[in-house]
């Protein structure tokens, strides 16, 4: 076979590797282009999806809020103690839980506390969560350290007040009413109370059976 032909053949074979290389690269990198669709089938149908944009409404959103002054079925928030943390028809805060506090509620409260409160207030509630540490390190002067939830001032707050703090925020703390529903807010309040108890407890508060284990910890 003449040499030029062989060379051309080899070059062609070499060139075929280029697309393969491109594909390999595409498979192992991130890219800004959405996937190639030859046939669109019914992939994109014309109906509103959650959080989609549409210019039909003036604000450009497809999701609507309830019309002012209306309440959706099952959404009536009747009951001041449960929904507002206040004595019925009054502005004073409730001091008793309007829900039954049991193990399930505590576990729920612990989980929700760690999701929503721990970033700022810390896992133990002492006010030094990871976000606080980072924000303080930036030293911008705009950050207020979160309160110590196990300190005396919050221990003295009635449960309704803590509930109200979650719902509406307080001073520099934002409101969490859109992220946490009322029952979970009460679960968190219960857990905050548990943290306060555990942080201000003495050995005498530990059940007799477990006391020995704790005392051994000290000597080890």
């Amino acid at each position: 076979m003449p040499r030029p032909l062989i060379s051309i053949g080899l070059v062609l074979v070499a060139l075929t590797l280029v697309p393969i290389g491109c594909i390999y690269r595409a498979r192992h990198s991130v890219k800004g282009q959405p996937r190639i669709q030859v046939v669109y089938d019914m992939d994109n149908q014309y109906y509103y999806k959650a959080q989609s944009a549409d210019d039909f409404f003036a604000d450009g959103r497809s999701m609507r809020t309830p019309v002012d002054g209306t309440v959706a079925r099952g959404d009536l928030r009747a009951g001041d103690p449960f929904f507002r943390g206040r004595v019925e028809g009054d502005t004073t805060f409730v001091t008793e839980f309007p829900v039954t506090v049991d193990q399930d509620l505590m576990h729920r409260g612990q989980e929700r506390f760690q999701i929503f409160c721990a970033p700022c207030h810390g896992l133990s509630g002492n006010g030094n969560g990871v976000v606080n540490i980072r924000a303080t390190a930036l030293a911008e002067g705009t950050w207020t350290p979160p309160s110590d939830l196990v300190g005396q001032s919050v221990v003295d707050r009635p449960v309704g007040h803590i509930y109200n703090t979650i719902t509406h925020g307080i001073r520099n703390m934002p409101s969490y009413k859109n992220q946490i529903d009322p029952r979970d807010r009460w679960a968190i309040v219960a857990y905050v109370r548990a943290l306060q108890l555990s942080r201000n407890a003495s050995l005498a508060d530990v059940p007799a059976d477990d006391r020995a284990a704790l005392e051994n910890l000290g000597t080890r």
Binding site: I20, I23, A26, R27, I36, Q45, I115, V130
Partner: protein, 238 residues
């Protein structure tokens, strides 16, 4: 030896014959042309198949899709470095089909007090002021004829990491899995290795305690909670 009229002898040897002609004589290597072209055609066909598969397979075209977002929000910083739970922002993921993208007010919980001057957060502050939503670009997008439900999966103990990869290491969210029907079914037929106790669904690095095989634990959880993913067409196409 007979000679044609238009043949002549000039003493130069060409080809295999003892006579040379002015006609073109195929060189000897062309005898193998048939085999060569057969091999080339076969190779070409295989090559074409590989190429089409390569270009159109979801591993190439869909996985790794990471569009530029309007705000350079980083999961690596907020989730990886600061340890904020997914549900702080994606609040509806446990209870509804869709995992919501957080509203601007969620960002402002913190950013009204930290990085208040950052140019990277310009759009977030503007959005909070005017109420205009931030136009986040969708990353994962199943065809509209497929029904998917986050709540069903989270409540059964399938971790986010099984379907979204290591979000806590991503500066920009990239699609980590092919999201094809084959991929969905792969897990629906064999979910054991992907199941975990429900309280660890958002944990990106969770491993079964005491070095237990994830499949064994998964099998136990399936029995305990009666988990049985369906492969009926109507589960996902309704």
């Amino acid at each position: 030896m007979t000679r044609n009229d238009n043949e002549f002898q000039d003493g130069t040897a060409s080809g295999s014959g003892t006579t040379t002609t002015d006609k073109f004589v195929f060189p000897r290597w062309t005898n193998r042309l048939r085999e060569i072209s057969a091999v080339a055609a076969l190779g070409g066909l295989v090559y074409a198949v590989v190429l089409v598969y390569g270009v159109f397979s979801p591993e190439t075209s869909a996985m790794g899709y990471a569009p530029t977002q309007p705000v350079s929000y980083s999961h690596a910083l907020h989730v990886g470095a600061m340890g904020i739970d997914c549900r702080y922002c994606h609040t509806s993921v446990e209870t509804t089909a869709k995992a919501n993208i957080p509203p601007t007010s969620t960002c402002m919980n913190c950013h009204s007090h930290v990085r208040t001057e950052s140019p990277k957060l310009e759009l977030v502050r503007k959005s909070a002021e005017t109420g205009e939503p931030i136009p986040w670009v969708r990353v994962h997008d199943l065809p509209d004829f497929v029904y998917f439900n986050h709540a069903g999966h989270i409540q059964s103990g399938v971790g986010c990491v099984s379907c979204h990869g290591r979000i806590d290491r991503m500066e920009v969210v990239a699609q980590d899995k092919p999201l094809t029907m084959g991929w969905c079914l792969g897990c629906h037929r064999n979910p054991e290795p992907n199941l975990r106790p429900k309280e660890f669904v958002t944990d990106m690095t969770w491993q079964p305690p005491n070095g237990e095989d994830p499949a064994d634990l998964g099998a136990r959880l399936m029995k305990e909670h009666g988990i049985a993913p369906s492969t009926d067409c109507a589960t996902c196409h309704r």
